[in-house]
């Protein structure tokens, strides 16, 4: 099975590469359209800022490529946010794959810390990607979140309930980092490879 990881200007792309290697898969990190189209699975990971990463995707026509993919695609963290309609971070229109908007956490009390950093639970889990993941703890680090939508397949509650994961057709995405979420996260990656 060929697994391609999309190479672009976001940070920490290699952490998912390590995560895949730990479960016995060697991915290709590439921005080559042919390789991405031909891969059995595509992962769209990263940590970064929405408007600058979106500008990069547009400049390299990766925005059109990602929308046109037909195999299972997994967005992670900023990947999930870029697959939504719009992000408040840099007020930017995103890929529009999911009917959700990305907003900044609003802290009304000093004890409500932003970023949302650490381990939190998954609730209302759906689809085979999140099989047996109900109430599992996964690792988050983010200041922006995707709103709930009919495409939400898991909810985490921090300051307000948000989309922990989204799904439409062949597109899946998680706000948490499966590659940093211990055994639970490794299971999510394994589940993705089985889709």
């Amino acid at each position: 099975m060929s697994i391609a990881v999309i190479k672009y200007n976001a940070g920490n792309i290699h952490s998912v590469v390590h995560g895949l290697r730990r479960i016995g898969v060697e991915p290709i990190v590439t921005d080559d359209f042919r390789v991405l189209r031909a891969a059995d699975k595509v992962i769209f990971p990263g940590v970064g800022e929405a408007s600058s990463t979106m500008a990069y995707l547009r400049a390299h026509q990766l925005d059109q490529l990602i929308r046109s993919l037909t195999q299972p695609v997994l967005g992670i963290c900023i990947g999930l946010q870029l697959m939504c309609r719009h992000s408040e971070e840099g007020d930017v229109d995103c890929l529009g794959i999911f009917d959700a908007d990305v907003k900044r956490f609003v802290s009304e009390r000093i004890q409500d810390k932003v970023p949302h950093m650490g381990w939190n639970t998954l609730q209302q889990t759906q689809t085979d990607l999140l099989k047996d993941m109900e109430a599992a703890y996964v690792y988050y680090v983010h200041s922006y979140y995707a709103s709930l939508s009919s495409q939400t397949i898991a909810v985490t509650d921090y300051l307000n309930p948000f989309s922990a994961a989204l799904h439409r057709d062949n597109f899946y995405a998680t706000q948490f980092h499966p590659e940093k979420s211990g055994m639970a996260g490794a299971q999510v990656l394994k589940n993705f490879l089985l889709l």
Partner: protein, 251 residues
């Protein structure tokens, strides 16, 4: 609910963990990668690796270790020690670290916090503060592992670090570190309640109750400890079971 985090800290010199370890039967008790992996299996929520090597060669060894940790361990980890400029941060993040911890360099050059946050995001930048409660009741910040006092005080420096873009504050009380009498909960609470970023309590844990107190009384978001874990005085699964029974949310 967001869980309170338990963070073992490993001091590394020339690629080997420094403090003695006797909590499990290890083939490589001195190997920080093996040790980190064992803590991860036991339920540690994050790891911190501190480079206490001074030499140039040692730095290279530490960077190699960071690469091995990134490949092996599936929970987040922070690296610190000897970070003086942005290029040091770049090397460690490229090696696979999730976050970097800066201490003396941040007090000497506060702009370093802004640069790290701007280049890599706030979440990458942990500002570690070593402070000591002085006779006059002030918490004074110290440099170089607690050897040189500064004119900065804990609360004002932490607020400045936050406004410059720190993602977390790691507060070590030099008055409590190594004494095993608990964390400085009053100062911790004052600190966590004046900051909008997470605070990691460090220094002073001697019993499971001390962790509970740091979370319940000190309002800490995470608690870091070294020797109680390394010497097997507290086992992470037992600590978490205890905290859960006491109503603290843990993973």
């Amino acid at each position: 609910m967001l869980a309170k985090r338990i963070i073992p800290c490993l001091d590394v010199k020339d690629g080997q963990t420094v403090k003695g370890v006797n909590f499990v039967n290890f083939r490589a008790a001195g190997d920080p990668v093996e040790l980190g992996a064992a803590y991860s299996r036991q339920g540690a929520d994050e790891l911190v690796f501190l480079d206490i090597t001074a030499s140039h060669e040692g730095r290279k060894t530490f960077t190699d270790m960071v690469q091995k940790v990134a490949a092996r361990i599936d929970i987040p980890f922070t690296v610190g020690g000897g970070i003086n400029e942005l290029s040091d941060v770049d090397v460690l993040l490229k090696a696979g670290a999730d976050k970097v911890s800066i201490n003396s360099a941040a007090i000497r050059n506060p702009n370093l916090i802004d640069s790290i946050a701007k280049s890599y995001g706030n979440q990458v930048c942990v500002v570690a503060i070593d402070a000591k409660l002085e006779q006059n009741g002030e918490w004074v910040c110290y440099l170089n592992g607690g050897r040189i006092p500064t004119d900065r005080t804990l609360f004002e420096w932490a607020l400045e670090a936050q406004s410059r873009g720190a993602g977390e504050i790691l507060f070590t009380s030099m008055s409590h570190d190594g004494v095993k009498q608990g964390y400085p909960n009053d100062a911790l609470r004052r600190l966590t309640d004046c900051l909008s970023i997470p605070v990691i309590a460090s220094g002073g844990a001697g019993s499971k109750e001390h962790f509970k107190d740091a979370f319940v009384e000190g309002h800490a978001d995470a608690a870091l400890a070294a020797s109680v874990f390394h010497f097997g005085e507290i086992l992470i699964p037992e600590l978490k079971a205890y905290l859960r029974a006491e109503g603290v949310v843990v993973r």
